[in-house]
């Protein structure tokens, strides 16, 4: 029996709510802008996909990732109608960079920071009023998809009735700078699956959903927005920063096996698509290897062209967007896509404008540093 998604939320550089974000995606709007707070002269790259919410223009404030996380979780709980005291609830947070931006501001600028603010438990318990376990995992760019899988297990094992699954990240100067340091191409935008892509740029955001045991949801007279069919997981055990096709395919195959679906049944794939030479080539080869030259006709959407790489949040940003796409019958386009990859010329990358389509099964890929891979499969809920 599949667990239900009963509430969702998102905050990103293109919008403050899930609906704002989804509508912006479908209009092909990008959150790409000039660096808002980092000292420009210290970097080669001048663009990112930041959330433009700093009160002090030119300066930076601590705690922004926490703020968006709390908002996204609040949206998801409101949509689910789930309140403190209802059922056995836990909260999982997947993040790449925790509140390390606050740590940097503390170390470099002397801004205030408490050791407990590195993780998110205190802030979430306070904002939700829920005295429940909160677990913060730092699992690189696959973090929130891993959380979705752990939540699915916790529900299937009967340990909890509902798990709030979430992801968030703000950009750290250290990660942004080191990615800048290692890429001589100095990209100005993220172009997933485009032949002339120049690399990744970071973005900011948070996403959340309520994953719930269907019996518990029915007791609350709540229906599903979508069903979670599976999350497949793997680790390459290969390289600290480079992806490996074998590991990615293993996570995808794990997801298909757990969901009891054939690759050809997937209608929409939210690719990891970071716009780097290595990721997109490896991911495309993995897709073609499992689904055939044309990817079995699967529609491909690269959200990072509009959000930048939201790191630990990016998996769940893809998940809630995929659910919206299935519900609305509209697939967001991939910006900056002009020419297909040499390795996968036949893939159907949705670009130019949003495409109307009925999708029953969607796949969301998330891969992170160290070769951590988590792939989610979602099923449309019949209204």
């Amino acid at each position: 029996m599949e667990n239900w998604i009963t509430g969702m939320g998102m905050v990103a550089s293109v919008g403050h709510t899930l609906d704002e974000c989804f509508n912006a995606f479908c209009r092909g709007e990008s959150g790409n802008k000039s660096l808002q707070a980092f000292p420009r002269e210290r970097f080669n790259v001048g663009k990112a996909y930041e959330i433009d919410d700093r009160p002090d223009k030119g300066g930076d404030t601590p705690g922004r990732a926490t703020k968006w996380l709390v908002r996204a979780i609040g949206q998801a709980l409101t949509a689910a109608g789930l309140r403190a005291g209802q059922g056995r609830v836990a909260v999982l947070v997947g993040t790449g960079l925790r509140e390390l931006r606050s740590l940097e501001l503390w170390w470099v600028e002397g801004q205030p920071m408490h050791v407990s603010e590195l993780h998110f438990g205190g802030a979430i318990r306070k904002s939700t009023g829920m005295r429940v376990p909160v677990m913060t995992f730092s699992n690189a760019c696959a973090a929130s998809n891993f959380m979705l899988g752990l939540a699915d297990d916790m529900l299937r094992l009967g340990d909890y009735d509902a798990v709030v699954v979430s992801g968030c990240d703000s950009i750290t100067e250290s990660m942004f700078g080191l990615l800048d340091r290692v890429n001589p191409l100095h990209p100005e935008q993220v172009q997933p699956f485009d032949r002339n892509r120049k690399g990744v740029l970071m973005g900011e955001g948070a996403a959340a959903l309520v994953l719930e045991n269907p019996d518990h949801a029915r007791l609350r007279s709540k229906g599903p927005m979508a069903l979670l069919r599976s999350v497949g997981m793997s680790c390459d055990a290969f390289h600290e920063t480079q992806p490996a096709m074998e590991g990615i395919q293993r996570a995808m195959t794990d997801a298909y096996d757990r969901a009891r679906v054939e690759p050809a049944q997937i209608g929409l794939m939210m690719v990891h698509g970071t716009g780097t030479a290595a990721n997109d080539m490896t991911e495309a080869k993995a897709i073609v290897g499992l689904m055939g030259q044309a990817g079995g006709g699967v529609m491909i959407s690269g959200l990072k062209s509009m959000t930048g790489h939201t790191s630990g949040a990016s998996g769940l940003v893809g998940v809630v967007t995929a659910v919206k796409a299935m519900e609305r019958g509209l697939v967001p386009p991939t910006l900056g896509f002009n020419e297909p990859l040499a390795e996968a010329p036949g893939l159907d990358v949705v670009h130019g404008k949003a495409r109307e389509a009925r999708v029953n099964l969607a796949q969301v890929n998330a891969f992170g540093f160290g070769g951590v891979n988590a792939v989610a499969i979602l099923e449309r809920s019949e209204p």
């Binding site: 210290r42 970097f43 080669n44 836990a90 790449g96 960079l97 925790r98 390390l100 740590l103 940097e104 170390w107 470099v108 920071m113 408490h114 050791v115 407990s116 590195l118 993780h119 438990g121 205190g122 318990r125 005295r131 429940v132 376990p133 677990m135 913060t136 995992f137 730092s138 699992n139 690189a140 891993f146 899988g149 752990l150 297990d153 916790m154 299937r156 094992l157 340990d159 750290t172 100067e173 250290s174 700078g177 080191l178 990615l179 800048d180 340091r181 997981m233 793997s234 680790c235 390459d236 055990a237 290969f238 600290e240 590991g247 293993r250 992170g368 540093f369 160290g370 070769g371 951590v372």
Partner: protein, 339 residues
């Protein structure tokens, strides 16, 4: 409270705490504080591949290697047991804070051209967990939990779940924290006390596997993972629930650091209200090692296995939380093997 049948076995223990004069299987979480000591991982790990690893990663590698060897499993990718079903959970909060601060400082002072690309892996907090996967060839799920004071206990619960849910047959669980100038300043600026003469600089590791997998390869479980609970206090929360679930008071209660609040207060409240709670059952690992933070739960699990080996009836409670601004607690039963 989560009922976990005695299904997940603990089959390997490893410790890397510089200056601690004890083998893991003999360490019950008490004794003299570790003497000041150099940490030199090369005799254990060899030189290869260590050059750009941070201290927390090297501590974790040593403890993990010891745990794998203790479990009778290969400490190398070659010949690893069912590698695609062997996963990793690492618990640490302080692991890469020094790298992040150092790189941010370089960028702010001089710009990105002065940074080293060798710092890129260490800027991602999960570097410890993925380094273990590469070193030992562990290809199933790979997780890094950074959840404050309860992290180590939560890591054991999540690792046990991976086995219960059939994602993995074996899980390597490591708890590691490290002490450096960034950590010391962060605590001081947070207004928090070290909770002992110093804070932990070290790692503990355990190998978990399904009872079936252990039996198939003839490995003898040291103990089993029991129930997990989470709550605001011990008087009404995790401890009474676990005591009830395990039908009687624990043989040993491994408490969080009783030199720090609110941990001390909550433990005392529980002792007042819990009739079976005489103080002789309490074990405080932090009194020996200093505050262990994200490593505590894993270290308690190791100490509990050793304690149960000497006191083979009953079970131990491993509890963490309630320090350095965290006000909740996680608890896990560690059950003696029934043979």
């Amino acid at each position: 409270m989560k009922r976990i049948p005695a299904f997940v076995a603990i089959t390997g223990l490893g410790l890397e705490i510089p200056g601690l004069e004890s083998a893991p299987a003999a360490w019950q979480g008490a004794g003299p504080a570790p003497a000041p000591a150099e940490f030199n991982p090369e005799p254990k790990l060899g030189k290869k591949g260590l050059l750009y690893k941070d201290r927390a990663t090297k501590l974790a590698l040593c403890a993990a290697k010891a745990a794998l060897e203790d479990a009778g499993l290969p400490a190398t990718p070659v010949g690893q047991a069912d590698p695609e079903r062997f996963g990793v959970v690492v618990s640490s909060n302080f692991g890469n804070l020094d790298t992040v601060c150092r790189v941010a400082e370089i960028i702010r002072g001089k710009g990105v051209a002065e940074t080293s690309s060798m710092d890129l892996p260490n800027a991602s907090s999960n570097v410890i967990a993925t380094t273990l996967s590469i070193r030992f060839g562990l290809k199933s799920l790979n997780l890094m939990i950074c959840n404050g004071a309860t992290s180590g206990t939560d890591a054991l619960y999540v690792a046990a779940n991976a086995i219960r849910a059939g994602r993995a047959t074996r899980m390597l669980v490591v708890g590691v924290e490290t002490d450096n100038a960034v950590v010391a300043k962060l605590l001081a600026d947070s207004g928090e006390s070290p909770g002992g003469p110093r804070i932990l600089d070290g790692a503990g590791a355990v190998v978990l596997e399904s009872r079936e997998a252990a039996r198939e390869r003839g490995a003898k479980p040291r103990a089993f993972i029991g129930d997990y609970a989470h709550g605001d206090s011990f008087a009404t929360g995790p401890v009474p629930e676990l005591v009830q679930a395990n039908a009687g008071p624990a043989s040993a209660w491994f408490t969080p650091n009783r030199a720090l609040e609110p941990a001390r207060g909550r433990v005392n409240e529980a002792l007042d209200g819990w009739s079976a709670g005489d103080g002789s059952r309490l074990r405080d690992v932090s009194a020996q090692l200093g505050e262990c933070y994200g490593a505590l739960g894993v270290l308690q699990c190791i100490a509990a296995c050793s304690w149960l080996a000497a006191h083979p009836a009953g079970y131990a409670l491993a509890t963490s939380g309630g320090v350095w601004g965290d006000d909740t607690f996680s608890s896990l039963g560690i059950l003696a093997r029934a043979d």
